[in-house]
Each structure stands twice: as C-alpha cells, then as structure tokens.
C-alpha cells in the first residue's frame, strides 16, 4: 500500500519580480535620511561645480605657449599652424612642385596649400607628403584623405577650378594620380597659394621635484622643394605666415629662401588635431565625484542595514529565491544612482555654462557631451551596484564603504603622485576607469577611451554582483 505525502492545497502566491522591485523601492523612499542623502549628493556636486566655475578663471591649456588656441569646435580641437609661404592667386590656378627632401620626424608635412586667408581657421585645402605616412590631402578639420605611401622625393599638384580644389600626386611629374577633391564654397576670388611645412609638437615627459609634467616641445621641420611651377594669375611677390608666434619661439627657427624654382621652407607648428586642448566638460563633471561618495555609502547601507537589523530575514521570507531580492535591490539602487548621477551632471554642466567658465563649454547636444552626461549617470549607477554587491559580500558597512571608495577615489587622487606610465595603468585597470566616460576631447593624456572605461567599471560591477549572488545562496542570512 502506498501513501501519498501530504501536500498543502493553499496556492503559493510568491511575490512576482515586479512586486519585489516595488518592495525595495518602498524601502528606499521610506527612509528619510536616505532620500536626503540622494538629494545632498546632487546638490553638493552641483555646488562644487559652481564653485569650481568661479575658480576656473584662467586658461592653462599648456602646450608650447605659441600662438592663440585655435578652436573651431571645442570638441575637435584643431591647430592650423605651420609655416605657409604664399603668393596671391586670382581665379583658377595650377600648382606643381617636387618635394626633394624633408626632415622633422615621421609626421613632418611638406606640400602645397590654397587657402582663403592667412588667419588660422580660414578655408583651405592642402596636399602634403610625410616621411612615414605617405601622401595626404587635408581640408578643414574633418577631411584627411590618404594617397599613396610615397615619401620624398615625390611630385605634388594642387589645382583650383572655380571653388573646387583637386589634389594629385606623381612619382615622376608625368603620370598623375588623384588623391582627393574638395569643394570650398566660401573661397574668395583672390586666394593665397603656396608651399607649407608643418610638424606636430613633440610630447615630452619631464620628471623633476617629484612630479612629472608633460609638455609639447616645438619641433622644427625643413623641406626642400624643387621644379616649382605655378600657373594662373599670380602676384609676383611672396608672403609668409609663420606659426606659432608666441614668445617661446625665436625667429631663426622659421624662414624660407627662394632661388629660381627651388624653395627651402623651415617652420614649426602642426596642421592637425590639437592634443593639448583642455577638456572643459570633463573638468566640470569632476565634481560629481563628491556626489558619488554619498551614493556609494547609500548603496552599501541599502543591504548592510538589512543584515544589521535582521530585516533581511523578512525579505528572504517574502522571496525565498534570494538572488531575486539582490537583483531587485540592484535595479532600484542602480536606478536611483543613474537618476542622481544624471541630475548632478546636468546641474553641474548647466551651472558652469551659465557661470561662463574659461574655456567655454561646448553645446549640450553634441554627442560627446551627451555621452559624458548620460555616461556619468551610468557610471554612478554601476558604482552603486558595485557597492551593493560588495556590501552584500562583506555585510560590514564600514569596511564595504571604505573598500569601494578606495577603488573609485584613490586611483583618481593617487595617480597624480605616480609616474605617468604607472598612473595610466591605474586609470585603465581599476574601477576608476569609469570616469573616462566624462572625456569629450581626444587629448595626449587619455588613458582609456570613454566607452571602454565605462565598460571596465561595469565589468567590475557585474563580476562583484555575480560573486555576491553565488555567495548569498551558500551563507546564512
């Protein structure tokens, strides 16, 4: 005879996951000091950003101190420097030259240029040869086309027809291959046509008095041009535009000589991205660090307080599947962190914009800025989830808070005392990599890209969360 074991007929109605999330949300919003902490996190961040905006009176963009900063667009800083030797051209023209030799490093540039005016930022089109990166065609800040991989001696040709500039290259001056064409609608009837040389500043790391400083040291480039053949309505006299013009540059480093069809040009300064431009958005958003400290403490307490007060037993009674409780907590605290981070970032940005910081902040709706603002929210959310997971693993508020703050704060601060190579690795490998999402400008000191940095922090948060879920099932509550 078999007997069937008794089974209760009462229907089990465990809380659905939505109900769990609502329960956790209720826990968060019904503790007045927690809500206060969130509000304080946002307010303090915005306040510090405002104070910093007041304190950021002067621009110390570094670099070689040569010439004014050339900012077409603060998000894609571009330097329009170099030494340009030119004649005035009326109407269409055809410029041909052979670059015989050049020196100044792998990215030294020598070639032909047509531009609307001398001022940096004016419309231009240029074809050039580099010692190690072949022939290139540049126009404005965005056009940069690669030609063949030839080095000097090589022939270059630039033709202007109406407002269309076409660049060609040739190994022998007979067989021409196109490099690129660009339409410059704003080109006036009288343009400047001629030869230019440019070379990027050399990034030099110097260690003295216990700190390392990076500076852009001016490099000099010299190119020898031959078989000069300019056709069109050209003024006979030559003019020149030197750059940089700052006090750091002595006159004898830049100059030119013309003899018949041979021209030698020496100059400094680059035509290309400016790696020393300040990142105003990132500087403004640094203040969110203060709010982040408060959010981290809150996220740790969100779980450790339950252990201390025994509330966790009630939570597990309601949902015996413990992992779901922790996941619901992660969703709630992550959401709160995202909201606080985004509000703090938006507030800081708005206050700093209104305060008129130097350098000026870019437009809010440009993608790098939006990425930085939304990314700050995601970063705070990921940090909150990391803190929750660490709190769940350690169950001890003080130690958990100290550990997470250590992981996020100290790399930022300690990095300044370390040599740059070590500091870069600290900024890549620790959870503090998440702050990279606040970058909006490509600079010489970028350790990790914005998305990659945020991914590092999210990976830490995910790993800690997975470990916490695994441990939680194996321990008493």
């Amino acid at each position: 005879m078999t007997t069937t074991a008794y089974r209760s007929r009462v229907e089990t109605t465990g809380a659905g996951f939505g109900g769990l999330v609502r329960a956790e949300l209720t826990k968060l919003v019904t503790v007045p000091r927690w809500l206060l902490t969130l509000a304080a996190a946002v307010l303090l961040s915005v306040l510090v950003a405002g104070l910093a905006a007041l304190g950021a009176g002067q621009d110390n963009s570094g670099g070689d101190g040569g010439g004014p900063p050339v900012a077409h667009n603060p998000l894609e800083p571009f330097q329009d420097r170099g030494h340009f030797v030119h004649r005035e051209l009326t109407g269409d023209g055809d410029l041909i030259v052979r670059v015989d030799s050049q020196e100044g490093g792998g990215w030294a540039k020598a070639g032909l240029m047509i531009r609307a005016a001398e001022e940096p930022g004016a419309d231009y089109a240029a074809v050039m040869v580099t010692p190690e990166h072949g022939v290139r065609f540049k126009s404005g800040t965005g056009t940069d086309l690669a030609g063949s991989s030839a080095a000097s001696p090589t022939w270059l040709r630039l033709t202007l027809t109406g407002t269309t500039v076409t660049a060609l290259e040739s190994p022998d001056g007979i067989n021409w291959t196109g490099v690129g064409t660009v339409e410059l609608p704003g080109l006036p009837a009288k343009t400047l046509a001629g030869l230019f040389v440019a070379v990027p500043d050399e990034v030099v790391v110097t260690r003295q008095f216990g700190t390392e400083s990076i500076s852009g040291n001016t490099v000099e480039t010299t190119a020898v041009f031959g078989s000069l053949a300019f056709t069109g309505d050209l003024a006979p006299e030559w003019g020149e535009r030197e750059h940089p013009t700052g006090p750091a540059v002595t006159d004898d480093r830049t100059g030119y000589t013309v003899s018949g069809t041979a021209v030698t040009v020496t100059g400094t300064g680059d035509l290309g991205p400016d790696m020393f431009s300040p990142d105003a958005t990132r500087m403004t958003l640094t203040s969110v660090l203060i709010g982040l400290c408060a959010v981290i403490s809150l996220a740790v307490l969100f779980i450790t307080a339950e252990y201390r007060r025994g509330m966790i037993r009630t939570s597990f009674l309601v949902s015996p599947a413990r992992g779901r409780v922790l996941l619901a907590k992660a969703i709630v605290i992550g959401g709160a962190g995202f909201a606080a981070g985004l509000l703090a970032a938006l507030g800081s940005f708005a206050l700093a914009s209104a305060g008129g910081v130097v350098p000026p902040l870019p437009d809010l709706f440009a993608w790098p800025v939006l990425r930085a603002l939304i990314g700050t929210g995601v970063m705070v959310a990921a940090a909150a989830i990391l803190a929750l997971a660490v709190g769940s693993l350690i169950r001890h508020s003080a130690v958990a808070i100290a550990l997470v703050l250590l992981a996020l704060l100290v790399p930022q601060v300690a990095a300044s005392g370390l040599p740059l190579s070590a500091a870069n690795w600290v900024e890549r490998l620790t959870p503090a990599a998440g702050f990279a999402v606040q970058q909006t400008v490509a600079r010489y000191d970028v350790a990790i890209g914005p998305e990659a940095g945020l991914a590092v922090l999210c990976a830490y948060a995910a790993a800690a969360m997975a470990f916490a879920l695994w441990r939680q099932k194996r321990r008493d509550a």
């Binding site: 002067q58 203060i290 601060v413």
Partner: protein, 262 residues
C-alpha cells in the same frame, strides 16, 4: 584614567576587526609605497642629478592609502559602540564622559601610531633597497633614507603623526555623527576634497588656498625633505593645519558627547 585606558584597550584589543585593520594599515602603507617606489625611475629626468627627487617623500607615498584603513578603525571605535549599545555600559562603568573620551583617544592613537610606525619603517626600508637600482644613487645626490638625518626623521615621524591626527579627526567626527557610514563618507570627502577639487580648479590662487588649508594636502607636506621653499605650506605648519582640524573635530565631538543622551 588608568582604569579607563585599560578598559578601552580591552575593548579595542578583543574586537576581531582591530587586528585585521591594524595589519591592513601596515600592509596598505607598504604596498602602496612599493607601487610608487617600483614605478619611479630617472628615465624622464633631464639627468638623474637634476631630477631633484624627494626620495623620502616618494618612499612614504603609501600613507595616502593607509589613512583610509585608519579612518575605518577610528570611526568604528566610536560608532561601533553606538551601533551595539555598548556605549551605555561604558558610561555606567565610567560616568566621567571626558575621561572615557580621552582614554579612547589615547588607545586609538597608540594603536595607530604603532601600526603607522611599522608601515613607515617598512616603506623606508623598501625605498632604501630599491631606489638606488632605479637610478637614484648616492653619487647623483640621493643618499639612502636614514633616520639619523634630520629632515628624514621629521618626514618619518610626521607621517606617523599624520596618521594619528587623521585617526583623531575621524574619532571626533564619529562622536558628532555617531553613524558608521555617514562618518566614514564625511571624513573621506573632507580628506579627499582638495585633491579632487584640484583636478577641477585651475585658478592658481584658489589652488594655493586649497593646498594650504585642506587637511590632506597640508598635512602630507610634512613628508617633504627637499625644496621646502616651493611648498605651499611648510612641513610643520602643514601638520599644524591638520592638527587644527583634528582639534576642532575632537572639541565638537567631546562637547556633544558631554551634553547629549547616549
């Protein structure tokens, strides 16, 4: 007073977390110092002799990390009693509140000073052994750190003093706030606000104010042994700024401790 100190010592000694935290302090100081020592060499110097590296300060870099553990230890010594309710028994046994507080401060300071001394000595030994291999040789003007040397002794003793003052600051703050999480966060923000704001503030005058009058940057200037003229604040003056913060926190903490219900 002797009995109060004995009681506080027993409480601190028998907490399992104390041993871990003190060991963690030593470990954090030495490990972080090692990172700095191992990763610094004369490669980027104009010449090794023109680097003007402060090898003592470099060797003691781990104090920045060690202070975090010290803060946790000091805060727990107070807020732990509030969290568990031990504070009531403590005050029944010793109703003179200021005596209790003084005993607590003495015990915590002594424990931190002991761990700090070990960490500082370990860091200096590491610097002494490793730095000559990285190009900071005696011939180039970097004698191995020795406590017989006045400035080095000041930097080493000052670093221990720095940790003790940070512990007292945290102790005072914990008496005011009484909550573990809140106190730790507040002390961290206070300590790190200047380095963080330093990343944002570019105005030289503001920066100098921050460097001179915030607890961490001012206090750590005691580690400098060369180039004292270019410091925003002198070594002992800087430690004095931190001492003023600690004193303010202790005064506020003891005043509230004396008048509030426990």
């Amino acid at each position: 007073m002797r009995r109060a100190i004995h009681a506080e010592w027993t409480k601190l000694r028998t907490l399992p977390s104390t041993g871990w935290l003190l060991a963690g302090t030593v470990l954090a100081i030495v490990a972080a110092s090692l990172v700095g020592i191992l990763s610094t060499d004369t490669r980027h110097c104009p010449t090794p002799a023109e680097c003007f590296e402060d090898t003592v300060k470099l060797s003691l870099g781990g104090i920045r990390l060690g202070q975090i553990v010290v803060v946790v230890l000091a805060v727990l010594a107070v807020s732990g009693e509030y969290a568990t309710g031990t504070m009531r028994q403590t005050l029944i046994a010793g109703p003179r509140r200021l005596t209790v507080l003084a005993a607590k401060a003495v015990v915590v300071a002594a424990a931190v000073a002991g761990a700090g001394t070990l960490g500082v000595l370990g860091s200096l030994v590491a610097g002494r052994l490793i730095l000559p291999g990285n190009g900071f040789t005696e011939a180039d003007g970097y004698p191995p750190p020795s406590l017989a040397d006045g400035p080095t002794l000041r930097a080493a003793g000052g670093s221990v003093g720095y940790l003790v003052l940070v512990a007292l600051l945290a102790l005072g703050a914990a008496l005011v706030i009484r909550d573990t999480a809140g106190t730790i966060t507040a002390v961290f923000v206070l300590l790190f606000v200047a380095p963080i704001a330093g990343l944002v503030v570019t105005d030289p005058e503001w920066r100098e104010l921050l460097d001179r009058f915030t607890p961490m940057t001012a206090g750590l200037s005691v580690q400098s042994t060369v180039g004292l003229d270019s410091l925003p604040i002198g070594p002992l003056g800087g430690l004095g700024v931190l001492a003023a913060y600690s004193a303010a926190a202790l005064v506020a903490g003891s005043a509230l401790f004396a008048v509030r219900d426990q």
